[in-house]
Structure formats: structure tokens, C-alpha cells
């Protein structure tokens, strides 16, 4: 456990906790705001992993545009402000959702962690020039299409 491990663990813990809060809170607007926290901490994780361009695009597009769209949709569909327990689903649905969510997490962890978990990766600087060269070189057709 290096110190960078602990730092990434702290940032990842915030991301995971805010994601869980975003899907479980009873207040609808708070769910969108917890999504903002999740996306912001994920951008921080991308910075850790050396993907600077992806982190900035994530902040610009996801936090700056998509969450604003979500908030507009919540406003235009007359989302109830404040706690709304009568708008939450039945306990059976929530228990089924929790089981399936936990099962999906466990299945992915069982696949990913034994195969790849032990690898060490060094924190290196982002290679934005190289990404730009590839984006306009090898990836130019899908880039232009999108």
C-alpha cells in the first residue's frame, strides 16, 4: 500500500459513496447533485491514471452539459422538491435491485480482480500530443462521424 494507493483509495471511496447515494436518495434533485460529485471525483481518478484530456472532457461534457440536462428534465417534469417517499418503488423491487446490483459487482470483481488486480501502474504524465496524433490519424473516421 503506497501513499498514492491511499490517496486514490480516498478519491475512489468518495466516488463510490456518492454513486450509491445518487441511486438511493429519496430526494430527486439531490440524486442529480450526487451524480455531479461522482463525475467530478471520476475526473480526478482519470487525472491519477494519466488521462488528462479525458478528465477535462469529462468535466466539460458530463458535469457541464449532461447533468445540466438532467436538472432541466427534472424541473420540466415537475419533480417533487424535498423528500418524497411516496414516489419510491416497492420494497420488493428495491431488494431485487440491491441483489442484482450486488451480484453484478461481485461477478465483475470475480472476473477482473484475480486476473488484473495485482498489476502495478506507474503514475506518468499524460501524452496528449500522442492522443491527438492518434485521434486525427488512426481514429479519424469515427472521430469525424461522431
Amino acid at each position: 500500500m503506497t501513499s498514492l494507493d491511499i490517496l486514490f483509495g480516498a478519491v475512489g471511496l468518495i466516488a463510490a459513496a456518492s454513486a450509491v447515494l445518487a441511486v438511493t436518495t429519496q430526494q430527486l434533485v439531490h440524486a442529480a447533485l450526487w451524480l455531479v460529485v461522482t463525475l467530478g471525483t471520476l475526473a480526478g481518478c482519470y487525472l491519477f491514471l494519466g488521462a488528462e484530456l479525458v478528465a477535462l472532457v469529462q468535466l466539460l461534457v458530463y458535469v457541464g452539459a449532461v447533468v445540466v440536462l438532467v436538472l432541466f428534465a427534472l424541473m420540466l417534469t415537475r419533480a417533487p422538491l424535498g423528500r418524497s417517499p411516496e414516489h419510491s418503488s416497492s420494497p420488493i423491487q428495491r431488494i431485487a435491485g440491491a441483489l442484482i446490483g450486488a451480484g453484478t459487482t461481485a461477478m465483475l470483481a470475480a472476473v477482473l480482480l484475480p486476473a488484473l488486480g495485482g498489476k502495478l501502474l506507474s503514475i506518468r504524465a499524460g501524452d496528449t500530443k500522442g492522443i491527438a496524433a492518434q485521434l486525427f490519424g488512426s481514429w479519424v473516421w469515427p472521430f469525424e462521424l461522431l
Partner: protein, 99 residues
Amino acid sequence: MIHLWLPLMLVCVLVGAGAYGVIARRNAVLVLIGVELILNAANLLFVSMGSVLDEKLHTGQVLPLFLITIAAAEMGVALAVILALFRDRGHIDLSEPGS
């Protein structure tokens, strides 16, 4: 130097939370928030594997850019559909039977 299991564990937790959001939420916009979480988990998986494998095409960072673009466009379309649904039915409660 960080161990790879930390971002991978975060990917798994995000997918689980997103799956819970898709299944157990009644409001359509909240279901979309769950879908966003799953897409972000996929992005994080791309980026973390891209930082370990050193490849010429920089796939680990170009594909997340494409995925962010596609996800943003898909959210726009999905929210437009939800707004049309709201105008037609008066509510976006997914547990009510369709008209």
C-alpha cells in the same frame, strides 16, 4: 505506483450502483442517472487498462472520448423522449401501467 485493483474495484461498485439505479427507481430521469453510472464505469475501465497497456493507438484514452460523446448524445435523446412522455401522460412514473 498504484495497484490496479483500486480502479477496478471502483468500476465494479459503479456498475453495481448503476444496475440498482436502473432496476429500483421509479422516476425515468433517475433511471437515466443509473445508466450514466454504468457508462462512467466503462470509461474508467478503459482508462485504467489503457494506462497499464502501452499501445500505439492510445485506445485506452481515445475510446473514452468517443464514449463520453455518445453518452451525452444518448442522454439528450433519452431526456427528449422523457419530456414527450411527460407531455402525453402527465407523469413519468415508470411503475404506473401505460395508457
